[in-house]
């Protein structure tokens, strides 16, 4: 595998006949790298994540993600790449309300994610992860009963249990006060380091940017 997780050249994206909403002349994410993607609301940050996740198709240009040419692959193939190698953390965490903490964390496996680890190893990893995130005691609770901070950690556990190569985080700290924001970021960095996960962290909050390997201004691409 080459050292780039994401490689983009001259990419444009537009919906049907409307003017392009995203242009990226050059972008690269290296293995293990953590990028802070900054830009005002409506600048196309989420669209960028969706392109990288294979949920949208670029209109033109080169988009390589995890050694796959996403500008050429069909939806199903991109679904498979996303399932195998990527994880997401959202601003609202997107936990499934009627499932327990454990069920939420294991959800990607229930939806068909498989890797070379056996069930036993996955269970060990799961226990290690919830212990590390201090949510072991909440394992069987409904996620509706969790506090904001606990939900956040469940979302992190769900993202990392599958040992992703790429984590896409879309404003995951914007609803937190500054202390908690810092705590959560540290958790993410620790896990990313452990699992050698590269990360694109999208936020409009510039106070965090100094902790990342690189800052990319989305406005610079236009």
């Amino acid at each position: 595998m080459n050292s780039s997780i994401i490689q983009i050249e001259n990419l444009t994206f537009q919906y049907d006949q409307s003017p392009p909403i995203l242009k990226v002349s050059k972008f690269e994410l290296k293995r293990g790298e953590k990028i802070f993607l900054a830009g005002p609301s409506g600048s196309g940050k989420t669209t960028f994540l969706e392109l990288v996740a294979g949920l949208l198709n670029p209109t033109s240009g080169l988009l390589r993600v995890l050694d796959e040419d996403f500008s050429a692959q069909n939806t199903h193939h991109k679904d498979l790449v996303r399932k195998k190698w990527m994880s997401f953390i959202f601003q609202s965490f997107n936990l499934v309300p009627y499932l327990s903490v454990e069920e939420n964390i294991r959800l990607p496996f229930w939806l068909g994610f498989r890797d070379e680890r056996g069930d036993e190893q996955i269970t060990k990893d799961f226990e290690h992860l919830i212990k590390g995130l201090d949510i072991a005691s909440l394992q069987h609770k409904k996620v509706m009963e969790l506090s904001f901070g606990q939900s956040q950690r469940v979302a992190a556990a769900r993202a990392f249990l599958k040992r992703p190569k790429l984590l896409l985080a879309d404003e995951p700290t914007s609803a937190l006060d500054s202390d908690r924001r810092q705590d959560f970021l540290e958790i993410l960095f620790d896990l990313a380091k452990n699992f050698e996960t590269s990360m694109i962290f999208v936020s409009h909050d510039r106070s965090l940017e100094s902790q990342f390997d690189r800052i990319v201004e989305i406005g610079e691409w236009k």
Binding site: T46, E50, R82, V96, P108
Partner: protein
């Protein structure tokens, strides 16, 4: 797959009120469909098999239907009789195996009286190969003995050995003209058959004749005529020829009909009612499927959020579509199971109300082949209907990407 099914189940439990209503709707329509089907089957079975193993029904020349009604269902009044000589003539025909003479007469406190002989108890069959069985007592052997059908005995509250006075003419209550001079005593009570046999009273042909004589002789009573007779051939191949021969009999205008055929024809004539019932129950089943569709469409916005998340977590589009189809299978499957149970309970409750021609003897809890066809229609219908929200949500999810876009 196991976990996939579990998520779907938990998702439904999370919306238990609406889902419960939809399940109720499907359960009720399944119950209605199955109950009506079962009632129809039982009615048809009981009706067309009121008498079996009889090749020909012979009476004076009149209408086929009329002959059938008064001989098989003890309904109406025969216009003409068959002479005892003609009966003897055909009884002795070499092609004939056995005959049952049948003379429909007066009523006994609202139940029709039938004069016959021992052949009735020996040869009469209904619903395939069921023979006449005695609950207590035995067939009449001499004059002034009477055998009661199961319902007649139960409703009149008569026991073995009780005295009975037969009235003249057909009335529902007490006859105007009593045959006071000819009292009977009950020598036997039949087991329930679920046919017209249950609602009749049987005695000998001699009694029937004697009852209408002013001064019955002390010795054997001569028999002049009977209403009709049942006939069984030795070989089924003889039936049509024999039927033709009887119809062409020159000494007396007779008519022979094949009871099974006339019964089926009569049932077909009555079947507009069945078509109506069936139509209604299919419409109800259709409505329950529409309810399912409404339930799924009304929750589509929430499902869209859920499915968008599932997609980002790795579910592909076909998985998302099958998630909704699975939900429909759950709802209609549980609905059908409950409906199946309700239908059997419903049948137990409604069965006895179905009247006297149709008797209900037993209920089977298992699904019959054509019932399986009916419930599969509901199941397949719900799967097909769920494709509408499934395709809709998959398209939206494809457009939504990471978050739901309005």
């Amino acid at each position: 797959m196991k976990n996939f099914i579990l998520i779907s189940w938990k998702s439904l439990l999370n919306r238990s009120f609406v889902v419960g209503l939809t399940i109720t709707c499907i359960a009720l329509s399944t119950a209605l469909l199955l109950t009506l089907e079962k009632i129809k089957d039982t009615a048809e079975g009981a009706f067309t098999q009121t008498v079996s193993q009889v090749d020909l029904l012979v009476g004076a020349r009149s209408g086929q239907l009329q002959l059938l009604l008064f001989t098989v269902f003890n309904m109406g009044q025969p216009t003409n009789n068959v002479s005892w000589e003609s009966y003897q003539y055909w009884k002795k025909n070499p092609a004939v195996d056995w005959t049952i003479p049948y003379s429909l007469g007066d009523s006994f406190r609202g139940f029709r009286t039938v004069a016959t002989d021992e052949n009735f108890f020996e040869h009469y069959r209904y619903k395939g190969n069921h023979s006449i069985q005695f609950k207590e007592g035995k067939p009449f052997e001499k004059m002034s003995e009477v055998v009661l059908g199961a319902d007649a005995a139960a409703e009149l509250g008569l026991h073995l050995g009780a005295k009975a006075i037969i009235t003249h003419g057909v009335t529902q209550g007490v006859g105007f003209e009593h045959h006071d001079g000819h009292p009977f005593h009950v020598c036997g009570i039949l087991k329930k058959t679920g046919t017209a046999v249950d609602r009749a009273v049987y005695f000998s042909l001699e009694d029937m004749e004697a009852m209408h004589m002013e001064h019955p002789p002390k010795g054997p009573v001569p028999i002049h005529d009977i209403t009709s007779f049942f006939l069984r051939t030795k070989n089924r191949i003889e039936v049509l020829k024999l039927q033709r021969d009887i119809n062409d009999y020159s000494k007396e205008p007779l008519m022979a009909v094949i009871p099974g055929m006339v019964l089926s024809e009569l049932w077909k004539n009555l079947s507009y009612f069945e078509v109506l019932l069936k139509g209604i129950s299919w419409i109800v089943a259709g409505f329950s499927l529409i309810t399912l569709l409404l339930m799924m469409l009304s929750s589509l916005e929430n499902r869209r959020r859920e499915m968008t998340l599932f997609r980002t977590l790795g579910a592909h589009l076909s998985q998302i579509a099958s998630f909704l189809v699975l939900e429909a299978v759950w709802v209609s499957g549980v609905g059908i199971l409950i409906g199946w149970f309700l239908s059997r309970v419903g049948f137990l409750v409604l069965g006895p109300l179905m009247g006297d021609i149709v008797g209900v003897d037993s209920i089977s809890w298992g699904l019959l082949p054509h019932e399986i066809l009916l419930v599969s229609f509901i199941l397949v219908g719900s799967i097909l209907i769920s494709l509408i929200p499934a395709v809709k949500v998959s398209r939206q999810v494809l457009k939504d990407g990471l978050t739901v876009k309005s």
